[in-house]
C-alpha cells in the first residue's frame, strides 16, 4: 500500500512541551480509501490529527502525494490538499453559514461560487440556513457545516477528528453516510479518528487501533470488527 499511498506517515512523534503523546506512528491512507484510527480518550487521536495538519511541532515523516510536508505550516498543508474537520466542529459561531463556507474556500484562488452551490446541493439544510449564524445551528447541522467548510478548500484528503462526538446515534449514522458519499461520489480519501468503533469500522476500508500513543493493531474494518479484544474494549461486548 505504502508505495502509492496518498498520505504516508512514518515514525510520527509529537506532544505538548516536554510531554510526548505519540511514540512513532506509521500509517498510510491510499487514494480513494477510508482509513479509521480507533482509540479511546487520551489515546492520542486529536494529537495525531493536529500533527498531520501542522498545528503542533512534530518529528517523523509526513508525505502527501509523494511530497514531504513534515515541516509545512498549516496553511501550506491546506493548500497542498489536506483539509481538517476539527474536534468539536470548530465552526465560526459568530459568522453566518455562508461566511463559514467562504472561510473554508479561503485558500482557493478565483471564484468559489460553484463550490458553494455544489456543497449547498449536498447539504440542503445549510442552503436553507445560509444567512443564519453558525452558532444557532444544531450540533448535527454544525457538524455538516464543518464538513462542508473543509470541502470548500477542494482537498484530496479529508481529516475528521471524532466526528461522532456529542451527536445522537441517528445523526451520527446520517453523518457517516455523508462521509461514505464523499468517497463514492466525490472521489475523496478520508482519515477518521474515532472511538465509535461500530459505525466507523463498518465504514472503514482499513483501520488502526491506537493505544496511549502507539498503534497496537491494524486490519480491514471487518477484520477488526470481528476481533474479540476490539469488541471487548470498544464495543462493550464481554465474552
Amino acid at each position: 500500500m505504502s508505495g502509492d499511498a496518498l498520505l504516508a506517515v512514518t515514525g510520527l512523534t509529537a506532544g505538548y512541551g516536554p510531554v510526548e503523546v505519540l511514540h512513532g506512528l506509521d500509517f498510510t491512507v491510499g487514494e480513494g480509501e477510508i482509513v479509521v484510527i480507533l482509540g479511546a480518550n487520551g489515546a492520542g487521536k486529536t494529537t495525531t490529527m493536529r500533527a498531520v495538519s501542522g498545528m503542533i511541532p512534530r518529528h517523523g515523516t509526513v508525505e502527501f502525494g509523494g511530497v514531504d510536508i513534515s515541516g509545512a505550516k498549516p496553511d501550506a498543508i491546506v493548500r497542498a490538499g489536506v483539509s481538517q474537520v476539527p474536534q468539536g466542529r470548530g465552526t465560526f459561531t459568530d459568522l453566518t453559514v455562508e461566511d463559514n463556507l467562504e472561510c473554508g474556500g479561503y485558500t482557493v484562488k478565483g471564484s468559489i461560487a460553484e463550490d458553494l452551490e455544489r456543497w449547498y446541493g449536498v447539504f440542503p439544510r445549510l442552503a436553507e440556513r445560509r444567512d443564519q449564524k453558525a452558532g444557532s445551528l444544531s450540533g448535527g447541522e454544525q457538524q455538516m457545516l464543518a464538513v462542508a467548510r473543509a470541502m470548500m478548500s477542494r482537498p484530496k484528503l479529508l481529516l475528521c477528528d471524532e466526528p461522532s462526538l456529542g451527536l445522537a446515534p441517528l445523526i451520527t449514522k446520517e453523518l457517516f453516510k455523508v462521509l461514505g458519499n464523499l468517497r463514492d461520489e466525490h472521489g475523496m480519501s478520508l482519515l477518521i479518528v474515532e472511538q465509535n468503533a461500530g459505525m466507523s469500522l463498518a465504514l472503514a476500508d482499513r483501520a488502526y487501533v491506537l493505544e496511549t500513543g502507539s498503534i497496537v493493531a491494524t486490519g480491514t474494518g471487518d477484520e477488526l470488527l470481528a476481533d474479540d479484544t476490539i469488541k471487548e474494549a470498544y464495543l462493550g461486548v464481554v465474552n
Binding site: 505550516k73 496553511d75 470548530g90 465560526f92 461566511d99 472561510c103 479561503y106 470548500m152
Partner: protein, 296 residues
C-alpha cells in the same frame, strides 16, 4: 434652540473622536483579547509626525495619511515584536508589556519633539467665518468635518469587514483562531494587519483632535481613558458598540458642561464612570457586546 444645536454638533464631533479611538481598541480586542494601552500614545506620536510633515510643506491631508501609515507600522510592530512573543509564554504579562510600550512611546515623543505645546493645522477650513447655519445655529465646518470622517471610516471598515477576503479572515480570526488556522488563514498576518489598522485609526483620531486641543505629549491621555470607557460601555467586541459608546460620551460631555451648572468639565470622568457602572450592572457585556466576552 440654536445653543442646543451647537452643543449637539460639538458633542457629536468630540464623540466621533472618542468613537474612532474606541473603534481602534475594539479591533484589537476582538482579535487579540487585549486592551491596547499604547493606543492613545501611538496616536499622539502620529499627530507629531503630522506636525513635522506639514511644517516641511506637505498638505495636511497628505501628512495625515502618511502619519496613519507610520501608526500602522508601529502598531503592527508592537503586535509582532512585543505582544506575540510574550503571549506565548505568559498571556497575563501582555498587559504589563503594553503599559511599558505606552511609557516608551510617551518618552520617545518627548525626546524627539520636546514637551512644549504646538499647534497643528486643521485639515478642514477653520477660520473665524468658516461656519454654516443649521436651523439658525452657527456650526463650524471643522466640527462637521470630524463627524464626516467618522462616517467615512465606518463605511470603509464596513466594506472591508463584509466585502473583502481579508475582512472575512479578520472576522474568522476574531471568532476562532484554531479553526482559522485549519482553513489556511495565516493568523499571525491577520493579527498584524488588525493591530496596524487600529494604529492608523488612532493616529487619525489624534490628528483630528490636536488642532482644537493643542498638540502636547499628553494629547491622547484623557481621550484614551474616555475611549476605553466608551469601548467597555458599548461592548468590547462590538464595533457598533464602540461608536455608540463614543458618541454617548461626547454628547454627555457637551450637554453636561452646557446645561448642568454644578457639574463642570472636571466632573466628566466621575459621571462617565457612574454611567458605565449602571450599564455594566444591567448588561455585563456592554450595550452591544456578545456574551462570549464574559468567558474570556
Amino acid at each position: 434652540m440654536s445653543l442646543f444645536i451647537e452643543r449637539l454638533v460639538n458633542g457629536l464631533a468630540d464623540g466621533s473622536i472618542y468613537a474612532l479611538l474606541a473603534l481602534a481598541l475594539v479591533v484589537v480586542f476582538r482579535s487579540t483579547g487585549q486592551l491596547n494601552f499604547a493606543q492613545g500614545e501611538i496616536g499622539t506620536l502620529g499627530a507629531f509626525v503630522v506636525s513635522t510633515l506639514t511644517l516641511s510643506g506637505l498638505p495636511v491631508w497628505l501628512s495625515i495619511l502618511l502619519a496613519m501609515f507610520v501608526g500602522f507600522v508601529i502598531s503592527a510592530g508592537v503586535e509582532r515584536v512585543v505582544v506575540r512573543p510574550i503571549e506565548h509564554r505568559n498571556p497575563g504579562a501582555v498587559i504589563v508589556a503594553l503599559i511599558g510600550v505606552f511609557l516608551a512611546v510617551n518618552q520617545l515623543v518627548a525626546m524627539f519633539w520636546g514637551v512644549d505645546a504646538r499647534g497643528l493645522p486643521n485639515v478642514f477650513p477653520d477660520q473665524a467665518d468658516d461656519f454654516v447655519t443649521i436651523l439658525g445655529a452657527p456650526v463650524r465646518i471643522a466640527r462637521l468635518g470630524v463627524i464626516g470622517v467618522l462616517i467615512v471610516v465606518l463605511l470603509l471598515l464596513w466594506l472591508m469587514f463584509n466585502k473583502t477576503k481579508i475582512g472575512l479572515a479578520m472576522r474568522a480570526v476574531a471568532n476562532n483562531q484554531e479553526s482559522s488556522n485549519l482553513v489556511g488563514i495565516r493568523v499571525g498576518t491577520i493579527l498584524v494587519v488588525g493591530w496596524g489598522l487600529a494604529g492608523a485609526i488612532g493616529v487619525l483620531a489624534a490628528a483630528l483632535l490636536a488642532p482644537s486641543a493643542g498638540l502636547t505629549g499628553t494629547l491622547m491621555l484623557g481621550p484614551f481613558l474616555l475611549a476605553s470607557v466608551a469601548a467597555v460601555l458599548g461592548g468590547l467586541d462590538s464595533p457598533v458598540g464602540a461608536v455608540v459608546g463614543g458618541l454617548i460620551i461626547g454628547l454627555t460631555e457637551a450637554f453636561m458642561v452646557g446645561y448642568v451648572d454644578f457639574l463642570g468639565a472636571d466632573m466628566l470622568f466621575p459621571v462617565m464612570l457612574v454611567i458605565l457602572l449602571v450599564v455594566l450592572l444591567l448588561r455585563p457585556s456592554g450595550l452591544f457586546g456578545s456574551e462570549r466576552v464574559e468567558r474570556v
